[in-house]
């Protein structure tokens, strides 16, 4: 009796390259994991040397504390912030008139600051940061 020869041979992928494949997969996921977020917001701030000291009362001032926003000394709700600035800046055409001075308390968190400055830019203002410099005062002996 003639036994028919089976032509269905089990074909296995070569195990020699498994190490290479594993290594490549590790590297691929490593590169993917290290990808940082690439979306953001461009912000134009005038150089500190070129900014002329504004006369008091001439420019809009924004005061930031840890949780509040104040426009020219009046605390405003976040949803009223941009409309209020837009109203104050309306009719001001020259860039130097549209300067908004931002004064922040040292403890203001970044997410609050960026929301406020984005609101200023949305209202058409030009942001200028004014910091309270720490000064060493020597008392006379």
């Amino acid at each position: 009796m003639k036994v028919p020869r089976s032509t269905k041979l089990m074909v296995e992928p070569s195990a020699v390259t498994t190490g290479d494949i594993a290594f490549n997969l590790i590297v691929f996921f490593l590169v993917c994991a290290s990808a940082s977020p690439d979306s953001g917001r461009r912000q134009e701030l005038p150089r500190s040397e070129t900014v002329a000291q504004p006369a008091k009362g001439q420019h809009v001032e924004v005061h930031l504390t840890r949780t509040t926003m104040a426009v020219n000394g009046d605390v405003v709700r976040p949803r009223d912030f941009t409309p209020r600035l837009r109203m104050l800046l309306s009719g001001k055409v020259r860039p130097e008139d549209r300067v908004v001075i931002v004064k922040s308390r040292p403890e203001v968190p970044y997410h609050h600051w960026i929301a406020a400055t984005a609101g200023i830019e949305e209202a058409g203002g030009i942001i200028t940061i004014q910091r309270e410099e720490e000064r060493e005062v020597r008392l006379p002996q």
Partner: protein, 139 residues
């Protein structure tokens, strides 16, 4: 009678050349990212209407411990302006992008001097943020 010894031709196997080339490619890709700051711990602030940040050679980061890094290397704020200016060199305007990555809870006393330093160095500031679906103030 002298029996001739058999000589064999020894060749480098060419089957793994592709793998070797690919690994080399990835190796140099990682080397090129040596200035990467992806290992640092920080959480971006959220905002709406973000744009693509684009490519940049300079990245300034303030991490969750309020430490300042320039291209993944910790530095002091006093030298930031000088070092950013050095990295930007004679790059023409419009290509002087500096990515600013600040931890969302970092305080103004840390990030405001860094922002000022970048502006002093003539960098085009791009805040790296996360897209938010909630509208910002006033919008």
């Amino acid at each position: 009678m002298k029996i001739q010894r058999k000589t064999y031709r020894v060749e480098v196997p060419s089957t793994t050349m592709g793998d070797i080339a690919f690994n080399l490619l990835i190796f140099f890709m990682i080397l090129a990212r040596a200035n990467d700051d992806s290992y640092l711990q920080w959480q971006p602030a959220r905002l709406t209407d973000l744009q693509a940040a684009g490519a940049s050679r300079v990245s300034v980061l303030i991490d969750s411990e309020s430490k300042l890094y320039l291209n993944g290397r910790q530095i002091g704020v006093a030298t930031l302006s000088q070092q950013v200016a050095q990295l930007l060199g004679d790059t023409p305007p419009g290509q002087r992008t500096v990515l600013l990555k600040v931890h969302r809870e970092a305080q103004a006393m840390y990030y405001e001097p860094a922002i000022e330093a970048v502006c002093e160095a003539g960098g085009d500031l791009v805040h790296i943020l996360e897209e938010s679906k909630e509208p910002g103030p006033g919008s």
